[in-house]
Protein backbone atom coordinates (compact mmCIF):
# COMPACT_ATOMS: atom_id res chain seq x y z
CA UNK A 1 0.00 0.00 0.00
CA UNK A 2 1.14 3.53 -0.75
CA UNK A 3 0.82 4.88 2.80
CA UNK A 4 3.00 2.22 4.44
CA UNK A 5 6.67 3.36 4.72
CA UNK A 6 6.23 6.29 2.41
CA UNK A 7 9.52 7.11 0.83
CA UNK A 8 9.88 10.86 0.98
CA UNK A 9 12.68 12.43 -0.94
CA UNK A 10 14.13 15.74 0.16
CA UNK A 11 14.28 17.12 -3.34
CA UNK A 12 11.44 17.46 -5.74
CA UNK A 13 11.75 15.44 -8.92
CA UNK A 14 13.54 17.64 -11.39
CA UNK A 15 11.55 19.89 -13.63
CA UNK A 16 13.24 21.01 -16.76
CA UNK A 17 15.64 23.74 -15.68
CA UNK A 18 17.59 25.93 -18.02
CA UNK A 19 21.27 25.82 -17.08
CA UNK A 20 22.72 29.31 -17.09
CA UNK A 21 26.16 29.57 -18.61
CA UNK A 22 28.81 30.94 -16.29
CA UNK A 23 29.47 33.94 -18.49
CA UNK A 24 25.86 34.86 -19.10
CA UNK A 25 26.67 38.43 -18.12
CA UNK A 26 29.24 39.28 -20.78
CA UNK A 27 26.80 39.34 -23.66
CA UNK A 28 24.85 42.44 -22.68
CA UNK A 29 26.30 45.72 -21.46
CA UNK A 30 23.60 46.16 -18.82
CA UNK A 31 24.56 42.81 -17.24
CA UNK A 32 28.25 43.66 -17.46
CA UNK A 33 27.55 46.99 -15.71
CA UNK A 34 25.81 45.09 -12.93
CA UNK A 35 28.72 42.71 -12.39
CA UNK A 36 31.22 45.60 -12.49
CA UNK A 37 29.15 47.44 -9.92
CA UNK A 38 29.16 44.42 -7.63
CA UNK A 39 32.90 43.93 -8.10
CA UNK A 40 33.57 47.44 -6.76
CA UNK A 41 33.36 45.85 -3.31
CA UNK A 42 36.57 43.92 -4.09
CA UNK A 43 38.54 47.11 -4.82
CA UNK A 44 37.13 48.80 -1.73
CA UNK A 45 38.03 45.88 0.57
CA UNK A 46 41.50 45.54 -0.94
CA UNK A 47 42.20 49.21 -0.33
CA UNK A 48 40.94 48.89 3.26
CA UNK A 49 43.62 46.21 3.71
CA UNK A 50 46.31 48.37 2.08
CA UNK A 51 45.32 51.13 4.50
CA UNK A 52 45.61 48.68 7.39
CA UNK A 53 49.09 47.68 6.28
CA UNK A 54 50.07 51.32 5.92
CA UNK A 55 48.98 51.94 9.52
CA UNK A 56 50.88 48.84 10.60
CA UNK A 57 54.03 50.07 8.85
CA UNK A 58 53.63 53.46 10.49
CA UNK A 59 53.64 51.86 13.92
CA UNK A 60 56.62 49.65 13.13
CA UNK A 61 59.05 52.55 12.95
CA UNK A 62 60.45 55.00 10.43
CA UNK A 63 62.32 52.43 8.35
CA UNK A 64 59.30 50.20 7.88
CA UNK A 65 57.14 53.20 7.03
CA UNK A 66 59.73 54.58 4.60
CA UNK A 67 59.72 51.20 2.82
CA UNK A 68 55.95 51.30 2.56
CA UNK A 69 56.00 54.85 1.16
CA UNK A 70 58.63 53.76 -1.35
CA UNK A 71 56.38 50.90 -2.48
CA UNK A 72 53.48 53.32 -2.93
CA UNK A 73 55.59 55.32 -5.34
CA UNK A 74 56.37 52.36 -7.62
CA UNK A 75 54.62 52.43 -11.03
CA UNK A 76 52.87 49.14 -10.24
CA UNK A 77 51.41 50.51 -7.02
CA UNK A 78 50.33 53.73 -8.73
CA UNK A 79 48.55 51.83 -11.49
CA UNK A 80 46.80 49.53 -9.01
CA UNK A 81 45.69 52.47 -6.91
CA UNK A 82 44.44 54.35 -9.98
CA UNK A 83 42.32 51.37 -11.01
CA UNK A 84 41.11 50.89 -7.45
CA UNK A 85 40.24 54.57 -7.27
CA UNK A 86 38.00 54.29 -10.34
CA UNK A 87 36.23 51.32 -8.79
CA UNK A 88 35.90 53.18 -5.48
CA UNK A 89 34.28 56.15 -7.22
CA UNK A 90 31.97 53.77 -9.07
CA UNK A 91 30.98 52.23 -5.75
CA UNK A 92 30.22 55.61 -4.18
CA UNK A 93 28.25 56.91 -7.14
CA UNK A 94 26.16 53.76 -7.57
CA UNK A 95 25.62 53.54 -3.82
CA UNK A 96 24.43 57.14 -3.45
CA UNK A 97 22.25 56.86 -6.53
CA UNK A 98 20.55 53.84 -4.95
CA UNK A 99 20.13 55.51 -1.56
CA UNK A 100 16.60 56.83 -2.31
CA UNK A 101 15.51 53.18 -2.70
CA UNK A 102 16.75 52.39 0.80
CA UNK A 103 15.97 55.64 2.59
CA UNK A 104 12.38 56.79 2.29
CA UNK A 105 11.81 59.92 4.36
CA UNK A 106 8.42 61.42 4.91
CA UNK A 107 7.57 64.74 6.50
CA UNK A 108 3.97 64.47 7.50
CA UNK A 109 2.31 63.19 4.35
CA UNK A 110 4.81 64.40 1.83
CA UNK A 111 7.67 62.23 0.76
CA UNK A 112 11.06 63.82 0.20
CA UNK A 113 11.94 63.45 -3.51
CA UNK A 114 14.54 60.89 -4.57
CA UNK A 115 16.84 63.56 -5.99
CA UNK A 116 17.04 65.31 -2.63
CA UNK A 117 17.97 62.09 -0.80
CA UNK A 118 20.68 61.30 -3.32
CA UNK A 119 21.95 64.90 -3.37
CA UNK A 120 22.23 64.94 0.43
CA UNK A 121 24.46 61.89 0.25
CA UNK A 122 26.68 63.56 -2.31
CA UNK A 123 26.92 66.71 -0.18
CA UNK A 124 27.86 64.59 2.85
CA UNK A 125 30.47 62.85 0.69
CA UNK A 126 32.09 66.16 -0.26
CA UNK A 127 32.01 67.51 3.28
CA UNK A 128 33.47 64.35 4.85
CA UNK A 129 36.13 64.08 2.15
CA UNK A 130 37.20 67.69 2.66
CA UNK A 131 37.26 67.22 6.44
CA UNK A 132 39.37 64.07 6.18
CA UNK A 133 41.78 65.71 3.73
CA UNK A 134 42.16 68.65 6.08
CA UNK A 135 42.78 66.39 9.08
CA UNK A 136 45.45 64.40 7.23
CA UNK A 137 47.25 67.17 5.37
CA UNK A 138 47.10 70.14 7.73
CA UNK A 139 49.61 69.82 10.50
Amino acid sequence: MMTQNPHYTKHHPRWHRVRMPIFWWVHKWVHMKFILRELTSVAVALYALVLLFQIRALTQGSEAYANFLAWLKTPGAIVLHAIAFLFAILHSVTWFNLSPRALVVRIGKKRIPDAVIAASNYVAWVIFSAALAWIILVD
Binding site: I22, I35, A45, A48, L51, R56, A77, H81, A88
Partner: protein, 115 residues
Amino acid sequence: MKKSMKPFWWGLFGAGGAISALFIPVLLFLNGLAIPLGWVEAPRDEALLALVKHPLTRLFLFALISLSLFHWAHRFRYTLYDGLQLKHLNELVAVLCYGSAMILTLFAGFTLWNI
Protein backbone atom coordinates in the same frame (compact mmCIF):
# COMPACT_ATOMS: atom_id res chain seq x y z
CA MET B 1 11.49 28.62 14.11
CA LYS B 2 15.13 28.90 13.07
CA LYS B 3 16.26 32.52 13.08
CA SER B 4 18.01 33.54 9.92
CA MET B 5 21.40 35.24 10.06
CA LYS B 6 20.66 36.97 6.77
CA PRO B 7 19.47 40.30 8.22
CA PHE B 8 22.65 40.47 10.31
CA TRP B 9 24.97 40.07 7.33
CA TRP B 10 22.83 42.40 5.27
CA GLY B 11 23.03 45.04 8.03
CA LEU B 12 26.83 44.85 8.03
CA PHE B 13 26.75 45.04 4.24
CA GLY B 14 24.69 48.23 4.37
CA ALA B 15 26.80 49.91 7.02
CA GLY B 16 29.96 48.90 5.20
CA GLY B 17 28.67 50.21 1.91
CA ALA B 18 27.80 53.57 3.42
CA ILE B 19 31.00 54.14 5.38
CA SER B 20 33.22 52.97 2.52
CA ALA B 21 31.33 55.08 -0.02
CA LEU B 22 31.87 58.18 2.10
CA PHE B 23 35.49 57.71 3.20
CA ILE B 24 37.42 55.28 0.99
CA PRO B 25 37.75 57.46 -2.15
CA VAL B 26 39.43 60.41 -0.40
CA LEU B 27 41.77 58.17 1.61
CA LEU B 28 42.68 56.17 -1.48
CA PHE B 29 43.22 59.31 -3.52
CA LEU B 30 45.44 60.99 -0.95
CA ASN B 31 47.47 58.04 0.29
CA GLY B 32 47.62 56.07 -2.95
CA LEU B 33 47.91 58.77 -5.59
CA ALA B 34 48.26 62.41 -4.53
CA ILE B 35 50.96 61.98 -1.87
CA PRO B 36 53.08 59.32 -3.68
CA LEU B 37 52.93 61.37 -6.89
CA GLY B 38 53.88 64.54 -5.03
CA TRP B 39 50.72 66.47 -5.87
CA VAL B 40 50.37 67.40 -2.22
CA GLU B 41 52.95 67.59 0.52
CA ALA B 42 53.12 64.47 2.65
CA PRO B 43 52.31 64.95 6.32
CA ARG B 44 55.20 64.46 8.70
CA ASP B 45 55.58 60.96 10.10
CA GLU B 46 55.31 62.17 13.70
CA ALA B 47 52.15 64.12 13.00
CA LEU B 48 50.61 61.14 11.22
CA LEU B 49 51.54 58.77 14.04
CA ALA B 50 50.08 61.12 16.63
CA LEU B 51 46.88 61.30 14.57
CA VAL B 52 46.62 57.52 14.21
CA LYS B 53 47.30 56.91 17.91
CA HIS B 54 44.27 58.96 18.95
CA PRO B 55 41.52 56.64 20.25
CA LEU B 56 38.86 58.20 18.04
CA THR B 57 41.02 57.74 14.96
CA ARG B 58 41.62 54.11 15.83
CA LEU B 59 37.93 53.51 16.42
CA PHE B 60 37.05 55.16 13.13
CA LEU B 61 39.69 53.20 11.21
CA PHE B 62 38.56 49.93 12.79
CA ALA B 63 34.95 50.62 11.80
CA LEU B 64 35.95 51.65 8.28
CA ILE B 65 38.21 48.67 7.63
CA SER B 66 36.04 46.03 9.27
CA LEU B 67 32.77 47.20 7.76
CA SER B 68 34.37 47.49 4.31
CA LEU B 69 35.42 43.85 4.64
CA PHE B 70 31.96 42.68 5.67
CA HIS B 71 30.45 44.74 2.86
CA TRP B 72 32.71 42.87 0.43
CA ALA B 73 31.99 39.48 2.03
CA HIS B 74 28.22 39.71 1.65
CA ARG B 75 28.31 41.29 -1.77
CA PHE B 76 30.99 39.00 -3.21
CA ARG B 77 29.23 35.93 -1.89
CA TYR B 78 26.11 36.80 -3.88
CA THR B 79 28.12 37.94 -6.90
CA LEU B 80 29.65 34.45 -7.05
CA TYR B 81 26.18 32.94 -6.58
CA ASP B 82 24.54 34.96 -9.35
CA GLY B 83 27.50 35.98 -11.45
CA LEU B 84 29.47 32.77 -11.68
CA GLN B 85 26.47 30.53 -11.01
CA LEU B 86 28.21 28.84 -8.07
CA LYS B 87 24.92 27.97 -6.40
CA HIS B 88 26.02 24.46 -5.53
CA LEU B 89 28.91 25.85 -3.45
CA ASN B 90 26.68 28.22 -1.50
CA GLU B 91 27.67 27.18 2.04
CA LEU B 92 31.37 26.95 1.24
CA VAL B 93 31.40 30.40 -0.37
CA ALA B 94 29.53 31.89 2.59
CA VAL B 95 31.97 30.40 5.09
CA LEU B 96 35.00 31.58 3.09
CA CYS B 97 33.64 35.10 2.63
CA TYR B 98 32.29 35.84 6.11
CA GLY B 99 35.10 33.83 7.67
CA SER B 100 37.85 35.82 6.00
CA ALA B 101 36.08 39.07 6.88
CA MET B 102 36.00 37.96 10.52
CA ILE B 103 39.64 36.90 10.59
CA LEU B 104 40.79 40.13 8.93
CA THR B 105 38.63 42.13 11.34
CA LEU B 106 40.43 40.44 14.23
CA PHE B 107 43.77 41.27 12.60
CA ALA B 108 42.69 44.90 12.14
CA GLY B 109 41.54 45.10 15.75
CA PHE B 110 44.79 43.60 16.98
CA THR B 111 46.86 45.99 14.86
CA LEU B 112 44.92 49.08 15.91
CA TRP B 113 44.79 48.10 19.57
CA ASN B 114 48.55 47.73 19.82
CA ILE B 115 49.59 51.07 18.33
